[in-house]
């Protein structure tokens, strides 16, 4: 099989015909408009889809994968398409296997606190579904209204509340997976320890390159008996960042610890009118959750630490409506920026908390040097930066500056002892940056994992691993990719 070379049109026609007989014909699409729609995810990296299909069952996913293998066409599993790193961008006219129609919550077990769901279930829908049991699904990415559980598994997604509750990998108990040869495996289990290697753990975060998850057993988390949400403002970004480190150093782990800088606060305030402090250089959103006495003690201590670092006003949400409003400010930040410039590029790196002041200084310096506007809205408690470069792409030469600044930001984060991505993944976007963090032997080990799961090299090839590690000399980076 000549992996990596685009399949000729006749092969795609045959593949589509096979799929139409395996699935209902209406669930196999080859129209120009639909292929264009599925040629990218929420990143700005476009590829090319050969055929798009919508299986309803595990058996249908197996049929899709087997047909792809038979015709030597790579396949890309796709959830809601909210990924930001090009992980679901199909290359070389790949078969796009869309899981959005597999969207049933199969069972909820409130005693054991887990649920079996299909991959197309949306993150927030799951939490709403189990709310009556006083439970929720802890990972809560900003896209939680529209992202799918299958996508969360593929990207090991995070979110503001991962500071105390952990990322997706800590909340996946078991998986039913279709491998690239069409076989079905069961990884992990309802029991806490499985015999043998932790294949479940290895699969989470594999960005669709190990197979397709068709059923997911998620751990459900107890809702906190009490929650307090507060907003503190600071005259400098450094003071806000130092407060974050000081809170953790004091032995507290808040439920969430989020930061927005001035440009972001102003954009959000114009958008939602929450009475945010628009004159502050930085705003810290802190949420503590738990039992009442510990909660009040933590709130008092956090306010004290904030004041010691020069916090101006401290606003503590007085009711659920005010809490929701403060969170709305955080979660709609990306919608608000459209008021400033028509386009944005969202970055995602992690640095040690103690390095936040220094790396933020560098982010401002780098973007200023490239003549770009930057807004920072991020998971400060995790050291997870999200610099948002805002621009107008009709401006000549601006994309080059956006890409150059982005690379410098990633490099500065890794040099500060951080990592390439905290929650968006590597996909195509950062594939060729992997050597910033990993030596050839490290990358070879990751490539070995992938070969064990997908020796056929058909599951979402050419993502994550730079070409040398993926044992291929083909450079499949489409136009618009940031490399």
């Amino acid at each position: 099989m000549s992996a990596g070379l685009a399949a000729p049109a006749v092969v795609l026609t045959e593949l589509a015909a096979d799929l139409r007989s395996a699935l209902a014909p209406g669930r196999v699409r080859t129209g120009t408009t639909e292929l264009a729609l599925y040629a990218r995810d929420a990143s700005n990296i476009s590829g090319s889809a050969g055929v798009v299909c919508f299986p309803l069952t595990t058996a249908e996913v197996q049929a899709c994968v087997r047909s792809a293998a038979q015709h030597g066409v790579p396949f890309v599993a796709r959830g809601a398409g909210t990924g930001l790193a090009g992980g679901a961008t199909p290359l070389d006219h790949a078969l796009v296997i869309t899981l959005t129609k597999m969207d049933r919550v199969l069972s909820v077990d409130p005693v054991n606190r887990f649920a079996w769901v299909e991959p197309g279930v949306l993150n927030l829908d799951l939490t709403r579904h189990v709310a009556k049991y006083g439970l929720h699904f802890a990972p809560d990415p900003s896209s939680q209204q529209s992202c799918s559980i299958g996508g969360n598994v593929a990207n090991n997604s995070g979110g503001p509340h991962c500071l105390s509750d952990g990322v997706t990998a800590a909340h996946i108990l078991a998986l039913e997976v279709v491998l690239s040869d069409g076989s079905v495996v069961h990884l992990g289990g309802e029991q806490p320890d499985s015999t043998g290697l932790d294949l479940r753990g290895a699969f989470v975060g594999s960005e669709g390159m190990f197979g397709i998850a068709t059923k997911v057993c998620v751990r459900l988390t107890q809702n906190a008996p009490a929650v307090r949400t507060m907003l503190m403002d600071f005259e400098t970004v450094e003071a806000g960042a130092q407060t974050v480190s000081a809170i953790i150093a004091d032995g507290m782990v808040p439920a969430a610890l989020e930061m927005m800088d001035q440009l972001c606060v102003r954009a959000v305030e114009e958008y939602i009118h929450a009475g945010l402090p628009v004159d502050a250089a930085a705003v810290l959103l802190v949420e503590v959750a738990g039992l009442p006495h510990g909660l009040e003690a933590d709130v008092a201590r956090i306010v004290e630490i904030g004041k010691a670092h020069g916090a101006g006003t401290v606003r503590i949400a007085q009711d659920e409506a005010e809490r929701a409003l403060l969170w709305k400010g955080r979660k709609t930040a990306f919608g608000a920026i459209a008021r400033i410039k028509p386009n944005y590029y969202l970055h995602d790196t992690v640095v040690p908390r103690r390095m936040l002041p220094e790396v933020l200084r560098k982010v401002y310096e780098i973007t200023a040097r490239h003549g770009l506007l930057v807004m920072n809205v991020f998971h400060a408690g995790d050291g997870n930066l999200h610099p948002l470069l805002v621009f107008d792409k009709s401006e000549p030469g601006v994309m080059e500056r956006v890409h150059a600044a982005g690379e410098e930001i990633v490099r500065a984060s890794v040099e500060a002892g951080g990592v390439l991505s905290g929650e968006h993944g590597i996909g195509l976007e950062k594939r060729d940056f992997m050597p910033m963090m990993f030596a050839p032997a490290d990358l070879a080990a990751q490539a070995a994992m992938r070969r064990a799961f997908d020796p056929l090299d058909l599951a979402n090839p050419f993502k994550v691993l730079p070409s040398a590690a993926a044992c291929s000399d083909v450079q499949h980076v489409p136009d618009g990719a940031w490399v």
Partner: protein, 286 residues
């Protein structure tokens, strides 16, 4: 950073070799050439909630050092850090502290080819590449020998106390508690470890009808069974079950559940990729 070159030289690139720390979790493979991983704490960063140490560092030594920084960690007591990770068995605090597999953030290990390889990264949030760390935890040294690790820590609790209550329905107690660290049940009584603000701990104990006690019951060590959490209710004989987790410590041995054929083939494929000649801890099966 610990210099792993010497350790890599000792492991070498051919011939069978076995690793051992303090020998508390099974020790080396008998009759094979043995190596010991480097020991020593490199740094503790309480404000990052991480620690970096040699895999040969005793867990108890690390716990003592961390406590001076107001931190602790989720590894079971005894033996070495590398041994605790390689075996991957969580202790009775898993319910509240999370499983051992979630604690390893970064590992530098020696591969079957004798190379130093890095897996993961130093931050809790990290999706840079595939999660090799999760594969290493519980792999019993069959994919690589851990040399140096970065492990996540957690703040020491303000207050910590065991409580007990006679009951045949441990889930009744379990449901009333918010994020307990451990809930154990032996068929007739529940034991719960609660942490946090002293007033919260006292209120939680009161609302679940529990009274303070000295500590947990002794865990029978005939076998360690892994069952769906609600199945602890159907256990018989002399046992202590971890409620909400599904680990049962039983006085009698048990048959280990086997994995499916295709799953086993995946594990074999991984072993073949990482150690094609089967030289690392020969005969050991995770």
């Amino acid at each position: 950073m610990i210099d792993l070159v010497q350790f890599a030289d000792e492991v070498g690139s051919d011939g069978p070799v076995t690793i051992t720390g303090l020998g508390t979790r099974g020790g080396p493979v008998e009759g094979e050439r043995g190596v010991h991983p480097p020991a020593g704490i490199e740094w503790i960063q309480a404000d990052e909630m991480i620690v970096c140490c040699g895999a040969g560092t005793p867990v108890d030594e690390l716990v003592a050092a961390l406590s001076a920084h107001g931190q602790t960690l989720a590894l079971p007591a005894g033996g070495t850090v590398g041994g605790a990770l390689a075996v991957g068995r969580s202790d009775h605090r898993r319910l509240g502290c999370g499983p051992v597999r979630d604690t390893l953030l970064q590992a530098r290990y020696i591969s079957a080819a004798g190379e130093v390889v890095k897996a993961g990264g130093p931050t809790v949030k990290n999706v840079s590449g595939f999660d090799l760390c999760r594969l290493l935890v519980g792999s019993r040294g069959t994919l690589g020998f851990l040399g140096e690790v970065i492990v996540r820590t957690r703040p020491l609790p303000q207050h910590s106390q065991w409580f007990t209550h006679a009951t045949t329905d441990p889930f009744d107690v379990f449901r009333r508690l918010y994020k307990p660290i451990s809930v154990l049940w032996n068929g007739s009584a529940c034991f719960a470890l609660l942490e946090g603000h002293p007033a919260d701990v006292a209120e939680q104990a009161a609302t679940s009808g529990m009274t303070a006690c000295d500590g947990p019951p002794t865990l029978p060590n005939g076998s360690r069974r892994s069952v769906k959490p609600s199945e602890v209710l159907s256990q018989t004989g002399n046992f202590v079950a971890e409620v909400g987790v599904g680990i049962v410590h039983h006085s009698l041995p048990c048959v280990v559940n086997s994995t499916g054929e295709r799953e086993a083939a995946l594990a074999v494929a991984l072993k073949d990729e990482f150690d094609p000649t089967g030289r690392l801890n020969p005969g050991v099966h995770p």
